[in-house]
Amino acid sequence: MSSASNSNILEFDDVDFSYGADTLLIREICFSIESSEFIGLLGANGSGKSTILKLASGILQAHRGGVRLWGRDLCEYKNRDRAKLLSYLPQMLEMSIPFTIREFVSMGLYPYETLPELTVDDAIEMVGLTGNSESLITNLSGGERRRVYIAMTLLQGAGLVLLDEPLANLDIKYQIELLRLLKELRKERAMTTLMALHDINIAFQFDRIILIKEGRVLGTGTPEEVLTRELLKEAFDVEIEFKTEDTGGVYIRY
């Protein structure tokens, strides 16, 4: 697992992590992500999804093992260089300073000296907030605010986007639109997405699922391969299974 394949954009190589001397939160994590993949990181609350994303973004450093971005150790990148390749949107979004949507989204341009292809207006339009660009973010609802954060992350224009539960607080309409948008960006810009989620209902939207339990990879593969009754029972400690209808639709049965 040590030699990087050329198409591997992100690799976790036997990674352990804990806060201080506490019990390991992340244990022997190994996986790799290829360019343009659309991957869901699925697991119960507290399973270690957010910690994995923070390790992947370089906010946390592995105690053992390595995290590589384009085959190079993540720690070797300068902050600004890394920000052009990788963007991360955390789960908790707090804002008490009254930025306008435009002021806020335009921060996505900070890693660049010259303007990238995407404009601030493009990014605002992508998340359906055109016409509100001068509204104050402190006056927005939770869902609208999350869309503003997503616009900033998209404007950053990185090839790898790490999203921690970005669908939280979003209406079903915007959940679907965001998933469609991310898939479009994969096609148009070869953007790779690693998204933490705990909602099993949307898991079938991804190319691949990495199932996590107690800081370990429980299974990885296509949704059909991973979302089995046995693995879901182990990951979530509940009896559930997916059923496919004759029409091709998938529903949860429990």
Binding site: S57, G58, L89, E94, S96, E103, P111, E134, L136
Partner: protein, 330 residues
């Protein structure tokens, strides 16, 4: 839904206007006062008053106001707390304790520099101590910084009250005046030192304004945007420490400016620190300059401390904004 319809042209126009107003007020303050001086026909005495008394006083009030306004904007950002001001970190209390003790004890070991040096040293030592208390896992933690500052501020205020309550000499009145912001001892000799520290602090703050914006989004997003939040918070904390310590040492404690000028600035020009920091600096300079002008003119030949006037002018205006506009984040 509240919107701010500023385009780049509008913001540029507002900036130009603020700079114009600032320059006009700073120059006018030289000629207006307890005695009006005509710039067209000045006697030699009036020239002497202008150069030796009014000019250094305007310089000091502008420098102090700029330092406090900019410090407030920076501090509210790095602590992600709209109620933060330069004094919440206890720096002012440390300076006040040190300077008041020196005034009451009659210490004059380096002449006119004694009180400014005592205040600056007190502020700096307090800043380092608060910084040490707020340091954990290789970086400053906003909540720890705030709590350390508030705790230390209470301790120093209590010690200050203790010293003042057992004193009865002439120094007590001077110390009281100094605590409320006394610019009457403005002198050219200390200006270069204050200017140097404030210019360095302001320069750092403006140079790191993008990083300051990113810190307001939280450390994780700041990191994602290509900054090192721990390093940036440290650099900006040092800049605030320098500006606040220099300001306090120039003329004592001036309340209100650091807390509320940034909010007024956000209302006028927006929250982008690249514009807000210089605008808060100019706004602080304008307010303190006007406050000092009023303080020395309204009951002439007596003087009211500028710190009292800033609060009397500023607080009602802020409350008016709070009532009228839903743009303040508190």
């Amino acid at each position: 839904m509240i919107k701010r319809k500023d385009t780049h042209v509008e913001i540029g126009g507002k900036l130009f206007l603020i700079i114009g107003i600032s320059v006009t007020i700073f120059i006018s303050a030289l000629f207006v006062g307890p005695k009006l001086i005509s710039p067209l026909s000045m006697s030699s005495t009036e020239k002497q008053i202008l150069l030796s008394i009014r000019l250094p006083r305007v310089f000091i009030s502008v420098l102090m106001g700029m330092a406090l306004g900019a410090s407030g904007a920076v501090l509210q950002g790095i602590l992600r707390n709209p109620l933060a001001d330069p004094y919440i970190l206890g720096i002012s209390s440390g300076a006040a304790l040190s300077a008041a003790a020196g005034i009451i004890a009659g210490i004059t070991f380096i002449g006119i520099f004694t009180i400014p040096v005592l205040a600056f040293t007190g502020a700096l030592i307090t800043g380092v101590f608060v910084g040490a208390m707020g340091w954990k896992r290789g970086g400053f933690w906003p909540d720890r910084l705030l709590l350390a500052g508030v705790g230390l501020g209470f301790l120093f205020s209590a010690l200050l009250m203790l010293i003042m309550s057992v004193s009865s000499n002439e120094g007590l009145k001077r110390a009281t005046l100094w605590i409320f912001g006394d610019l009457s001892l403005a002198d050219w000799t200390i200006i270069p030192y204050g200017f140097a520290f404030i210019a360095i602090g302001l320069g750092i703050s403006m140079f790191r304004a993008k990083a300051l914006n990113s810190l307001m989004l939280g450390d994780d997003l700041s990191h994602s945007l290509g900054f090192s939040p721990k390093r940036e918070r440290f650099i900006l904390f040092v800049s605030v420490g320098l500006m606040t310590a220099a300001s306090v040492s120039l003329g004592g404690l001036i309340g209100f400016i650091g807390l509320l000028i940034p909010h007024i600035g956000r209302f006028i020009i927006g929250s982008d620190s690249r514009i807000l920091v210089p605008v808060s600096a100019l706004g602080g300079g304008i307010l303190l300059c006007i406050a000092d002008l009023i303080g020395k003119s309204i009951v002439s030949p007596m003087e009211l401390p500028a710190g009292i006037i800033t609060a009397i002018i500023g607080a009602p205006y802020f409350l008016y904004l709070l009532r009228r506009k839903d743009v303040l984040s508190i």
